[in-house]
Symmetry: C2
Subunit: 508 residues, 2 copies
Amino acid sequence: MLTAEHLRHPALFAKIVTADQAAALIGDGMTVGVSGFTPSGYPKKVAQALARAVAAGRKCRINLWSGASVGPEIEEELAAVGAIARRAPYYAASNKSMRVAINSGDIRYTDLHLSHFAQQIDYGFLGPVDVAIVEAVAVTATGDLVLGPGVGNTPMLVQHAAQVIVEVNTAQPLELEGMHDIFVLPRPPRRREIPIYDTLDRIGGPYVACGLGRIAAIVESDVPDKVRNLEPPDDLGRKIAANLIDFLAHEQKRGRIPTAMLPLQSGVGSIANAVLAGLAASPFENLHMYSEILQDAVFALIEAGKITAASGCAFTPSPGVLERFRRDPGLYRRALVLRPLDISNHPEVIRRLGVIALNTPLEFDIYGHANSTHVMGTHMMNGIGGSGDYMRNGYLTIFTAESVARNGAISRVVPMVSHCDHTEHDAMVFVTEHGVADVRGLSPRERARVIIANCAHPDYRGPLLEYVRAAEQGGGHTPHDLNQAFAFHDRYNRTGTMKNGKGGPANG
Amino acid sequence: MLTAEHLRHPALFAKIVTADQAAALIGDGMTVGVSGFTPSGYPKKVAQALARAVAAGRKCRINLWSGASVGPEIEEELAAVGAIARRAPYYAASNKSMRVAINSGDIRYTDLHLSHFAQQIDYGFLGPVDVAIVEAVAVTATGDLVLGPGVGNTPMLVQHAAQVIVEVNTAQPLELEGMHDIFVLPRPPRRREIPIYDTLDRIGGPYVACGLGRIAAIVESDVPDKVRNLEPPDDLGRKIAANLIDFLAHEQKRGRIPTAMLPLQSGVGSIANAVLAGLAASPFENLHMYSEILQDAVFALIEAGKITAASGCAFTPSPGVLERFRRDPGLYRRALVLRPLDISNHPEVIRRLGVIALNTPLEFDIYGHANSTHVMGTHMMNGIGGSGDYMRNGYLTIFTAESVARNGAISRVVPMVSHCDHTEHDAMVFVTEHGVADVRGLSPRERARVIIANCAHPDYRGPLLEYVRAAEQGGGHTPHDLNQAFAFHDRYNRTGTMKNGKGGPANG
């Protein structure tokens, strides 16, 4: 039941409607922005109501904008009934209907650097926002919004929305209030710096500016975010983490990382979680995270006193994380700040602070290009997300990955990436369970040797070396045989493995 | 003859040596940083002396660092005698010996985003700088350096150099003094913003800090920078410029560019020069440039009152430009500021100011990836330079190119770029003589249609469409047939043209 703690102006109670009534505000062809970032702080009930209406025959296809991929109520249920025409700026493979529709072209998806999306909305490049649906913990007396655990692009979406629907979710802890630092950049040409000089610096206010007048409807919700606990790291993840932490310690010893350490950014997924878990046993102390999303392990590290400051645009409210949070909200309120996505990922701040960037691509090539998004160059797996923001602007930029996938049928180190999201100019270091390839200052021919020797799986080292040696016969700064560059991928498409089955080269 | 105007402390005169004596300070295996950016403000005499010594039998192979490619005394003469082991961060094809050695792998070249190089030196990632050779207009009483028309990475190279050799060039106008704004960023984690909020804001001082003690030798020079006047724009260049300017005017009318206009960045070369020339006849007034290098046309536009403020890390001192400068130095001293390369190209400033980025790639593909560097994917033509800094961080990011090269034998629009320097996530707009492809907010399948229809040469539209239609049979967010993705390039390598000679598809 919503109380005066949730709705802090009497007029707000008059705006309470059912989810079905709120969903009726959303018209065919509209652009709808939703709050949240990953399954964290996204609206559930109105999306489900819209999906029900469409399933029952209502014609409504929307353009869906968000922070990142959110929960299945949106990504799966709306997609399954064909209610999504366009999607931006991110998508993750976990929801089947969305995945199928994006890869068939039925949903027109635009994959953007996450730091770019809010500004492209603000500049008017992508058209107007008709409705924003925002999950909030509470609405203030002036009609401003107290967000849940995921900020994403909510401030910019609300700023531009003609109408705002608020889902007030009593399942989210009210102690989240005050953890957000909401700051919306003005447009150029006359604008100032983003005055963040340390991880926890606050530059805005705790609420998303909205105002009573623009709130078209309020829907009560008590549906938790759909997040599962992450699996504990496996052997391979632990090996990658150990290689990475050795490397960082070595860099620090050589004076190339300051003794006070630098803020870390970490992508999402099992390897990222293993790396964070590895930090718990590392010699590093008083760590800072200046990152996009703060996963489960960050909470464990804060509790252990290893991480003393963390900034992100969301945290992942898994059952384990929520339990920690409810046990000691004061600890996390002191150590965490939640920012808009375009601030958490902003090149200005990432470069100024000297963030060490850790991300995991699908594949990378012998010259250092990386593919974060497309399986075999064609099928979208996950969007690029913030990896480009951090890998371009970080102090030290590191890709971590397992050397192979599918029990060795896929080498993650290939002659040429089948889709390029990060160029050779961006990543400095590659880490797999086999070792570390530090390619700073190397030429492409040197990079190829180091990446093959230190990162590739032993089964693929021979074929990769054979590829580069043959390509060198043709000369060039970056030797390639364009007829064989995708031989690994072609073999996989034809035979189900990149290996040629004879112990010989894949590029035979 | 060097006078007290050039050497402003008596002790400096005692440091005058011959170029041969100065070159003897450079030992085998050393890392040598040189001033300048393009053939602008680079040292000539010591490089030539070193080349002579090596030609005469002295063993000396150096690692050569600079701002960008500089003049033939360095790029050609040193390369021709095998005196260069490594090269960073940029190279341009105009010098044959360097080109041949980089493409054979004899010179190990590292191609970097130009905004990254100074910081990688500063972070210690690339090793120490043994000697810096700096062309200066004068040396102050405290041993600090008044640079010529190209700043590049000189401040950081001097900061890290164990020894500094100064070539004082009496052929450079002394009126350059005061035009530089030299600012060296501290290292993270404790650093502040770069306080540039308008094109001409000054944040540093006029001189490169060096100090009398570190100046190991002074060499007198009167050798002009080796720059030719650019050819006037041709028909094709003018068509591209007209398409671009129409597009900018349209965007401004739609409110997507502020009425006051935004600062422009422009790459180098004939198309860039045509675009700038086109601005002279455009409705735009009071233009600002926040760019890397300021080419000839910028001076004409300043004189015409069209450009009122220009910031760069160098200007191109062609005979025509120098004539204009000498005629009215006051005008250019008011309208121009010369900054270090890592400031002219810094993401923080580019994004804050809202720079409109205009660059020219070698080729781009139907999905929006671009290749700025490698001919047919293997042979280095020019380094990536600053294009990535601006195309990633600009307000509006635009690639301009001719639709074909070599009389139509090469299509600059291809199914898949043979080398990727800029991903689909970066460029928003593509302009050729045939039209404008605005791909903001589009999905890959949509982008392919728009790019083919609006930018490709009519001879290649059919084959490109046929490629994408066939690829779509395989499905996927970004349809590709990896076996045919380089069919255009392969045909060119085999037959000398990307056309199949039968009017049919190139990918047949």
